[in-house]
């Protein structure tokens, strides 16, 4: 229970800002690279193992294991990938500073020769 509350605390600034973001930008990029490289490496290992040992079944098993392992590492939102969380602007601050109004003036003509 304590761990759950701790994790909730980690995401507090984002929660207050109304944003659900459980992996920061750098984490996302890192994880995508891990996923692509890991799948390719396991595919190569599976192919070589299957060909050398003459077993198609073995190739499928090794690859399935590799896909499962990669899923476990890259798909869940591990806190490890959220070490640089962005500091989202507090909603109270947002209200204090209104968006600048765009001046709409249809009569204004740029007279330049």
């Amino acid at each position: 229970m304590g761990l759950f509350n701790y994790i909730l605390l980690l995401y507090e600034p984002q929660r207050r800002a109304g944003i659900i973001m459980l992996m920061d930008w750098q984490g996302q990029k890192f994880v995508e690279q891990i996923m692509q490289i890991s799948l390719l490496v396991f595919a190569v290992i599976a192919l070589v193992a299957g060909y050398v040992l003459g077993s198609f079944h073995l190739m499928m098993l090794v690859y399935a294991g590799g896909v499962t392992l990669t899923t476990l590492i890259t798909v869940p939102n591990w806190p490890f990938f959220n070490r640089n969380p962005l500091n989202w602007l507090d909603p109270n601050e947002v209200e204090k500073h209104h968006k600048p109004q765009v001046a709409v003036s249809l009569k204004k003509k740029a007279t330049q020769k």
Binding site: L22, Q28, L39, Y51, M59
Partner: protein, 167 residues
């Protein structure tokens, strides 16, 4: 934003695409295999040789088929389908091919064999030109892969003859 659902989808589609590539490579690896099969067919006996009521000749024969097809099997082979066909020429057709017997070899261990059998399928001519006919017996095989391209080839054995008269 790369959310949980996005990453799961990306991983699943990428892994399946890579799986397709692996199967293609596995099929290509079959080209590295150089098979050296051998086979021999002896006709032990012509059981009977009749003209059917419809007017077509029919033969029943007993063969001894022996073969060593182990070199056809690769890691990517599911099974090998073989059949024996009699080939001959008649005035009506320049090439007749009649399938006499077939079998499925499921594994390399079963690929070296001999079998003493009568023809599984009827040897019937289109017409009555079989008396004294010289014919070839051809052993065809189809190497069926687990994934990818199927290879087919044959061995032609010549010099077989049918009797001059009906029996």
């Amino acid at each position: 934003m790369h959310s949980f659902g996005y990453r799961l989808n990306a991983l699943l589609t990428f892994s399946v695409t890579i799986l397709a590539l692996m199967c293609a490579i596995a099929s290509l690896s079959d080209n590295l295999n150089t098979p050296s099969p051998s086979a021999e067919i002896q006709i032990m006996n012509i059981n009977w040789f009749q003209k059917q009521p419809q007017g077509n000749d029919e033969v029943s024969l007993t063969m001894n088929i022996s073969a060593d097809l182990q070199s056809l099997f690769t890691w990517n082979t599911k099974q090998v389908f073989i059949f024996v066909a009699a080939e001959y020429e008649t005035p009506k057709n320049s090439l007749n091919q009649v399938s006499l017997w077939d079998a499925i070899i499921p594994a390399k261990e079963h690929a070296k064999f001999w079998i003493h059998t009568s023809n599984k399928y009827r040897f019937v001519d289109q017409g009555n030109s079989l008396r004294g006919k010289e014919f070839n017996l051809t052993l065809h095989w189809h190497v069926m892969p687990k994934t990818g391209k199927m290879f087919a080839d044959k061995i032609v054995m010549t010099g077989y003859n049918l009797p001059e008269e009906y029996r």
